[in-house]
Symmetry: C2
Subunit: 240 residues, 2 copies
Amino acid sequence: MSTQEQNHNRPFTDDELHGLYRAIYERRDVRSQFLPDPIPSDVLVRLLNAAHHAPSVGFMQPWDFIVIDSVAVRESVLAIFEQENRKAAENYTGDQGARYRSLKLQGILESPINLCITCNRSRGGRHVLGRNSVVEMDLFSTCLAVQNLWLAARAEGIGVGWVSILDQQQLAHTLKLPNDVYPLAYLCLGYVSEFLDQPELQAKGWRSRLPLDELVHGNTWGEGLGNEELQAELANKKVW
Amino acid sequence: MSTQEQNHNRPFTDDELHGLYRAIYERRDVRSQFLPDPIPSDVLVRLLNAAHHAPSVGFMQPWDFIVIDSVAVRESVLAIFEQENRKAAENYTGDQGARYRSLKLQGILESPINLCITCNRSRGGRHVLGRNSVVEMDLFSTCLAVQNLWLAARAEGIGVGWVSILDQQQLAHTLKLPNDVYPLAYLCLGYVSEFLDQPELQAKGWRSRLPLDELVHGNTWGEGLGNEELQAELANKKVW
C-alpha cells in the first residue's frame, strides 16, 4: 500500500469532520449579501475542480462551466429573469403576493461572477454505463457537481445563489449553447457581507424546516423504523 | 450580532477547509468494498440530517428517506437490478461487453443499509417559489441532498454507492411509494475495507477523467477566457 493510499484511508480528524459539516450547515442560497470584490483565479479554479470531482453516471462527466463576467451577457440573463419572475408573481395573491414581490431572488449584477453549469446530454456516446434505465442520470450527476461547488465555495467564504426563475431556452440561446447542452444551473458567485444564520425563506416566514423524523420511513413508504434506537436518535437529533 | 452569528461567519481554518476538500476528492462510488459492520444510529442520523440541510427550490424540502435493512426488500430490489442489467449489457459487445460484465455495479446485499432518497413532487402545493420555469427543480434539489449525504458519509468513513440500473416503476412499487413520489436515488451504505484512490471506472480503463481546462468557457459556449491568469491557473491546476 502506498503512502498516499494509507493517507487517504486514515480517519478524518475532528477538525476535518467539523469542516465538512460546517460547510453543509452554514451554506446559504445567497441573493442579497454579495460584495463586488473579485474572486482570485486560484480560488475560482479550486471551486471548478471541486465540481469536476463530483460523481457522475458511468464516469460521464457531462458538465461544462461557463464563467460569465460580461455585464452585457448578465444584463441579458437578468432580462430573462425579470420576464419569468413577472409570470411567477401572478401565482401569488394578497399577503402572499406582497411577500413574494418583497423577496430578492437573484444577484446577477451584484455578484462579480456568474457561472452556468451545463449538462452535455450526448457526452460519452449512446450507451453510458448506468444510464440505460434512467436517462436523466446525466442531469442528476450535474446537480452533484453543483453541490460540490456550493460547499467548496462556502468553505472559501464565497456565497452562491442558484437562479432558477429563467426560461431555459432563452438562456441557452443567450449563452449560445449547442442543441444537446442543457443549462442546468445558473449561479451567482461572490464574497458576501455575511452568511445568514438560517435560510432566508425560513427567516422571512415563507416556509418552515420540516422535522426530520417525519421524513424517515422503514423499509417501505409510511412504515415505522423497526430500530427503536434510531427512532430515538431521530426524535432527539441535534444539528452538528 | 450574536455569538453564534460571529461564530458561523468566521473563516474556515486550514483543517476545516482541508476536511471539506478531502471529502470531495476522496469520496468514491462504492460497489465492492462494503463491510457488514452496522452503522451506529447516531452516525446514520448525522448523515440524514446532512442531506436534510441541502438547498431546495423555494425551501420545498421535497425529500423523504427510506431506510432499508430488510433482506426481503433488498432481494426484490436486487432482482430488479439484475433484470435491468441484463438489458444494459446487451448494449456492449466484444471486449467492451466482456469488460462490462466483469464490473461489479451494486452492493445491495453486501452493504448493511440501503437508503432510497425520494422526491415528493407535490410537496409545497401547486406553486413552489422558484419552480415555475423549471418544474424539475424539485428533482435537482433532491440530488443536492444526495451529495450532502455522500460527502458526510465519506467524512464518517462510510462508503456510498448509487445504484442507477433499476426500473423506477418497479422500484416504486416495491417500496410502496405513493403516485407523486419518485425514487430518485437508491443508495447502498456501509463501512468499507478501503476507499480506492481513484474512481473504479477510471482505474479499470473504462473512461478517463476529462481535462478541466477543456470544460471551461468564457461568457458564452466555446469562447476562450478573457482572463489570462485564470487560464494559466486552469492549465496548471493542482488537486487539493
